[in-house]
């Protein structure tokens, strides 16, 4: 047993650290540091810089322009990215659609779409959830009806994150209502400027516009935009769940968040003493740091298995549950530390700038246990798949 990185891995770590120090623009660093939202221009600017260095599509294989890193290198990169207060890539195209196209796409689809994702020419959003299909995703009702060389799509998708930035959307649509509800689903690529497609904003409880509802009225989509066979969309979407996710727990960003909370507790005072002198607050911070440490080691166990080419053990199933619990706890401690200085709503405050941002972070992080399979769905899956509590 040995948890040291190898000499090569340590050298890689230094290389990444030095690059971030030299190249990360100060304005992006500041926004990330205090938890402020980045605009589309910010994101594109940063992603193009990473792509120029060859470090944008870090999870992609070499043949598609990836850096051919080991899982450990990707883990180190993520740690250094967070440590440098560099933005996290929120790109659905890179993380989700890319791997799907590599596995299920036609040669034409791969040749056309993958370079466009890498070069930030396309911004993709995801069309899975519907007003009536949340955790029960397979009950989705948006239809795609065959009409010659086209499908005609009708319905609506909800929680389309950054749909207002996107020029393309990948969707799960219903091409058949026969058989089990999972069986009639297809995976379809749609241009956002197709007539009949409309995006309406949804403002979330952090007061920001991340989310949208997307409406489809007789939207005509060429059949060559189908990914995988018709009716196999559920399998295609599920493929992503088995895709390696050594950073799903968000340990890198939570470690930076934790360090910031401790710094805030030292720098700010009450009763003429640092907040850290308050025993009750101090033990809450300590408890959060202990929980984060447990998560980090669970993550390292999964990483070690993945790096050795083995299937991750049962511990990997708790990375999302425990990872999001830590994120929520830290964001909660943020508003607690800020006290009334967290009140100003998009306004200048008497307190440190970072205090006002804690509210947004706290509010936004509530989504972490809802998206990507809610806590409750995660537990249903673990009960069935891991504990064998599966009864007919």
């Amino acid at each position: 047993m040995n948890i040291e990185f190898s000499a090569e891995e340590k050298a890689f770590q230094q290389e990444v650290r030095a690059w971030f120090t030299k190249n990360l623009p100060a304005d992006l660093k500041h926004k990330t540091e205090i938890g402020q939202m980045l605009g589309k221009d910010d994101m594109i600017r940063w992603q193009r810089m990473l792509n120029e260095k060859g470090w944008l599509v870090t999870g992609w294989p070499k043949e598609y322009g990836g850096p051919d890193w080991t899982p450990t290198q990707r883990y180190i990169f993520d740690m250094e990215r967070a440590r440098a207060n560099a933005p996290i890539g929120l790109s659905m195209g890179i993380i989700m659609l890319g791997p799907v196209l590599m596995h299920y796409g036609t040669q034409e689809q791969k040749d056309f779409y993958l370079p466009r994702i890498r070069n930030c020419e396309d911004w993709w959003c995801q069309g899975y959830s519907e007003p009536g299909a949340g955790s029960d995703l397979a009950s989705l009702k948006t239809t795609a009806v065959s009409d010659g060389d086209h499908y005609v799509v009708n319905g609506s998708k909800i929680w389309t994150t950054y749909g207002h930035w996107a020029n393309r959307i990948f969707c799960l649509v219903r091409t058949s209502s026969a058989g089990k509800k999972q069986e009639g689903i297809s995976f379809l690529l749609i241009d956002m400027d197709t007539p009949g497609l409309e995006v309406r904003p949804i403002i979330s409880i952090d007061g920001e516009h991340h989310l949208n509802q997307t409406f489809f009225t007789d939207v005509r989509v060429p059949k060559k935009n189908l990914v995988g066979p018709e009716g196999q969309g559920w399998t295609v979407a599920k493929y992503l769940l088995t895709h390696e996710r050594t950073t799903i727990a968000g340990v890198a960003d939570s470690k930076v968040h934790m360090a910031n909370l401790k710094r805030m507790a030292h720098e700010n005072s009450a009763n003429g003493q640092p907040l850290m002198a308050d025993a009750s607050l101090r033990t809450k911070l300590a408890k959060a740091e202990i929980d984060l440490l447990a998560l980090e080691y669970t993550n390292l166990r999964t990483l070690a298995a993945t790096a050795a080419g083995k299937a991750p053990g049962p511990e990997s199933s708790l990375l999302k549950l425990d990872g999001t619990a830590v994120q929520q706890k830290l964001s909660e401690l943020g508003v607690e530390l800020a006290g009334q200085y967290a009140w100003p709503w998009k306004a200048d405050s008497v307190g440190p700038e970072e205090f006002a941002a804690t509210t947004m972070r706290y509010a936004f992080t509530r989504a972490a246990t809802i998206y990507g399979g809610s806590d409750e769905v995660q537990k249903n899956v673990i009960a069935k798949m891991v504990l064998g509590l599966n009864f007919k």
């Binding site: 047993m1 040995n2 948890i3 040291e4 990185f5 190898s6 450990t72 401790k262 850290m276 002198a277 025993a279 101090r282 033990t283 911070l285 300590a286 408890k287 740091e289 202990i290 929980d291 440490l293 447990a294 998560l295 080691y297 669970t298 390292l300 166990r301 990483l303 070690a304 790096a307 050795a308 049962p314 511990e315 199933s317 708790l318 549950l321 425990d322 409750e376 537990k379 249903n380 673990i382 009960a383 891991v386 504990l387 064998g388 509590l389 009864f391």
Partner: protein, 380 residues
């Protein structure tokens, strides 16, 4: 980077698992519980023959030269089988302390006999008022002639009802809560002025309250330097705490597995109760708790030998706090989901419950370790 066990560690684990399966079934264990001190001499000899009593000690003493990861293999399996013999108190804590801080003469006098199973030791550091804090020492040793005279009292000393020799923390100088001024002495449990009131503990092992009235000690009874015993004691307790966490992990894992099996077989309202989502989610809470505790035991095993005491203490307290909190959860849920039968002495679940309950305050309560961690974190 890898979390693989060495071949030797796997061999130890397999051997202890085999012993639990063949010789320490729930019924066989009951016979040990029925003895006066919860101790089987023949089991202890078996431990000696298997080499388990020598794991942490140097090969020239007759030991295996192993580390905490090797001990953790024994402890996790012992936790699964709920072994009540005083391995933790005698070998890991007391033996570990002598190994870390004893003189060559003390090691030669004690360790070979300990390894052969002929000697039992206990560390007497807890007092009537000290609760979780090993710094709080009121027992006094005063210089007298060439030696010392020992007066005072120790309370709820793990393994002391059976111990041949005691390692006693005393105050030779300083005030009640000073780290400086604590000295450790080796005391024969049969020595004049030592009176031991043994009793059984909730998990089936033994402990004792001890009085020292004018116990005469020679100068060579001192372990380490006079007045500087605390660092050694603290380090030995930290190592034993990690071993205790591994033991708790074994118990938690068994309690969780047995509960999940019960959910599959127990029927109410004509269906297995494991088909109810309210119980499924709590079973998942138990499962995730156990896996996260495994991560923490690995973390603490890897960090407890850190030469920086702050790193060591933070790692150990993090693990003890975390595993303690989850042990409480797993123990309570195991009983709850078994329903009425979980309340009975005849089922193993209640025994896991008591073992895990005792773990929660062993070597410092969950709160104590949270505070210790928090104070070190704030000062870092």
């Amino acid at each position: 980077m890898n979390f693989n066990l060495s071949d030797e560690q796997k061999m130890i684990r397999n051997a202890v698992d085999k012993f639990i399966r063949n010789d320490y079934s729930f019924d066989a264990r009951k016979k040990v519980l029925d003895t006066e001190h919860g101790f089987s001499r023949s089991h202890w000899q078996q431990f000696a023959e298997m080499g388990w009593l020598g794991i942490p000690f140097a090969e020239d003493q007759g030991g295996l030269g192993g580390g905490i990861l090797d001990i953790a293999q024994v402890m996790e399996a012992f936790g699964t089988g709920m072994v009540v013999e005083p391995y933790l108190s005698s070998v890991v804590l007391a033996g570990g302390l002598i190994n870390m801080g004893g003189s060559q003469a003390q090691k030669d006098a004690l360790l070979p006999a300990l390894i052969e199973g002929k000697l039992l030791l206990a560390v007497a550091y807890t007092e009537r008022e000290s609760r979780s804090n090993p710094v709080d020492v009121q027992t006094r040793a005063e210089k007298s002639g060439g030696g010392y005279v020992l007066n005072g009292e120790k309370a709820v000393v793990l393994g002391a009802a059976l111990a041949d020799k005691l390692i006693v923390s005393t105050r030779t100088s300083g005030n009640r809560l000073d780290e400086q001024g604590i000295s450790l002495f080796l005391v024969d449990s049969k020595a004049a002025g030592v009176s031991i009131q043994g009793f059984r503990t909730m998990e089936g092992g033994n402990a004792a309250n001890i009085k020292f009235s004018g116990v005469k000690l020679t100068a060579d009874a001192l372990i380490g330097q006079e007045g500087k015993g605390f660092a050694l004691l603290d380090n030995a307790i930290d190592h034993a705490t990690v071993a205790a966490c591994a033991d708790a992990l074994g118990s938690m894992h068994s309690a969780m597995r047995k509960t999940v099996e019960y959910l599959k077989t127990r029927k109410q309202f004509d269906v297995p109760i494991g088909s109810f989502q309210a119980l499924q989610h709590r079973a998942v809470d138990m499962f995730t708790a156990v896996e996260a505790c495994r991560s923490m035991v690995l973390m603490a095993s890897l960090k407890v030998s850190d030469t920086n005491p702050v790193e060591r203490k933070m790692a150990v307290s993090a693990a003890k706090q975390f595993v303690g909190e989850k042990a409480r959860l797993v123990a309570q849920q195991a009983v709850q989901m078994h329903g009425g039968i979980g309340m009975t002495e005849e089922l193993d679940i209640g025994h896991y419950f008591r073992r895990l309950t005792m773990f929660c305050s062993l070597f410092g309560t969950t709160e104590y370790h949270l505070n210790r961690y928090a104070d070190l974190m704030a000062a870092a």
